[in-house]
Symmetry: C2
Subunit: 390 residues, 2 copies
């Protein structure tokens, strides 16, 4: 994985990131990613939240054709809970992009992120689209500007790019930081490839890759109103990959983006993996992993470097999944602290002073397994989410 390249890594893509004045700070806040072809296949996955932002409703609609010419993204406002007027703003944004690119609005996806409930400054946004269109380039710098323009409370831009030996490649960027939860972490991500694939193949590959990556990060349970992952294929490499090869590389790039989301989550001081094994089913393992990942008592204990397996046992027991307390085992950073329903070692034997913490929960019931990534609950998280509206 190379993190200095992103959406402009694959051939056939141009990008730009500009300061359109949507954010008061004057920071970059508008990104444009354009697929110059020859292909235009695309796919998307979206938040499961019932309260969906206007750009999600729009992009879901246009993605039904599985074709995209461009994606326009803004930070500085989520355009969620803004009623029919907010939807009209999204539509007008797509129309503006279509106009400057000479394409149709139904070929343009829209993504927004920021505070919920406020209308976007449309004059600034439309003027920004014109500037961005002029700055479009296929350079690393242009891709990095796009990745930077979508940041909210993120502390740095997040990109990943990887090339297959056959010559085609996959690259992307992601923004995250807060409201990170199951069923797509709270984030926007655009991933591009120059491989030759049709829309149906892209869609299947994207669902398979996100189920094992974006859907397995859970920072605070807050599935947002705006979560979107888009995948665009230019076909510019001229190579049609094997399905398995493509899914594998796409999953690797997505996993690298998710790892960067975890490492830059709000207030994070610990990067925690919760691995559940021996569950009655994979679904049970995932439910248990998420319940533990969202448990504030577990998350505060790990912030304090305290291998408090009792709190983990409590969280496992309250999960809506099959659990036999007498068979349960909990291992933290390689030390089996709890086994077969009773204490197996003193908690002082597990050293949690480092940033990475690995929790393994063995249910000893079957073959089901899952790994969920999460972070600790720190003073930084509370500070960041109480002192500022976001």
């Amino acid at each position: 994985m190379i993190r200095t390249k992103g959406v402009t890594g694959p051939k056939g893509f141009k990008a730009a990131g500009v300061a359109a004045g949507i954010k008061d700070s004057g920071a970059l806040d508008l990104a444009l990613v354009v697929n110059e072809g020859p292909g235009d296949a695309a796919a998307g996955v979206f938040t499961t939240n019932q309260v969906k932002a206007a750009p999600v409703l729009w992009s879901q609609q246009v993605l039904k054709e599985r074709r995209l010419a461009a994606v326009v993204l803004n930070s500085g406002g989520a355009n969620a809970c803004t009623g029919p007027e907010g939807f009209q703003d999204t539509h007008a944004t797509a129309e503006k992009v279509a106009e400057v690119l000479g394409r149709g609005a139904v070929e343009v996806a829209v993504c927004s992120t920021g505070l919920i409930g406020e209308r976007l400054p449309m004059d600034n946004l439309k003027a920004g689209v014109e500037v961005a269109a002029k700055e479009l380039a296929d350079t690393d710098e242009a891709g990095l500007n796009a990745a930077t323009a979508v940041m909210t409370t993120d502390t740095h831009p997040k990109q990943s790019w990887a090339q297959h030996p056959d010559g085609w490649s996959i690259g992307g960027f992601v923004k995250g930081a807060g409201m990170l939860a199951p069923n797509l972490a709270t984030m926007l991500s655009v991933i591009t490839t120059d491989a030759v694939l049709d829309g149906d193949a892209l869609d299947a590959a994207l669902r398979e890759a996100t189920a094992r990556t974006f859907d397995r990060l859970d920072v605070d349970g807050g599935t947002s109103t705006n979560d979107t992952v888009l995948l665009l294929a230019s076909g510019a490499s001229g190579t049609a990959p094997e399905r398995g090869d493509f899914v594998e590389l796409l999953t690797a790039v997505a996993a690298d983006l998710v790892k960067q989301l975890q490492g830059d989550a709000e207030g994070v001081t610990k990067e925690i993996s919760i691995t559940v094994t021996g569950a009655a089913s994979d679904a049970d393992a995932l439910v248990i992993g998420r319940t533990v990942a969202e448990d504030n008592l577990v998350k505060t204990a790990l912030f304090g470097s305290d291998p408090n397996w009792g709190r983990i046992a409590m969280a496992v027991g309250r999960a809506q999944a099959r659990v036999d307390p007498d068979k349960l085992g909990i291992t933290i950073n390689g030390v089996a602290l709890f086994a077969n329903g009773r204490k197996a070692a003193d908690r002082s034997e597990a050293d949690l002073s480092e940033r990475d913490i690995a929790v393994v929960i063995d249910l000893n019931l079957g073959d089901g397994g899952a790994t969920v990534l999460t972070t600790d609950l720190s003073h930084g998280y509370v500070e960041e989410n109480s002192a500022y509206s976001s």
Copy 2:
């Protein structure tokens, strides 16, 4: 409600609270509540967590007869995840109480609270039972000592007592502070009455009262391994109440205990009520109320006195219940900030500087409703749960 009386308020009950040396601090850590009759009807409700502490397994078993002579409670250790040996410790505790009172062990319920996973110091505990038996009294002071002996991170003992005009009364104590969640807040509570009721009537009344009180407090989603509410009836008033009158007064006493739990939750700076109206069903309303109550982004915003209704809308939308975003309304402290799917007032119009915050979520879908009590997520919560094992 009178908070200076508790389990010894009703006639026919004696109590004691002693320092048995279970806690290293030397604080009171063992409580005994004895029903001197003439009746011995009793009922209990217990945690829904699949990982149940030994005293829960024991007390569930003995309560099948719906008769109790006494309850023994300890702080300083939850006796959870302690295997068959832990269960033997609970059994031995009940046997010891039975011995000193001249009753049978199956008439003695046991409750424990404290750190999960450690065995109890049984020599200290048994010696403490002997001391407690000698100190049993029907005074307010004895009841207060019992209420004090069950405290863990609680900052003060919590009692409530109320008398019906017909002469019978209901009193109780509760401990809470952390791991407070649906399906019985994490806590132990003993409630006594001198009304004349049989075990079945007590059981039905207790389930009805707890469903509307203890089950509606959700501080951190952490349904513990030890949650227990016990109700004992001495019949010493000689009066058999109307069923409706009894449930009403029991609910009032339980609600007063729950209010005290909320006010003394770990790190609390805001006492928040989440009222959901217009839901498709009461069950939907409860699911939405709990999802909002457990949402860290909502809880940190309220800690910061920020009426961030966008985060509330996000939490409502991710609840497993029917929601129509275009009909949704959110009112905070009397100010309608969001109505019919769009912003209705600037958030600066809602003043959240006081300790009490009332959130009303109107779904405009039906007649379902529920109120869930919760607290904010503060630096104090993080500090208390990261700096100490509990």
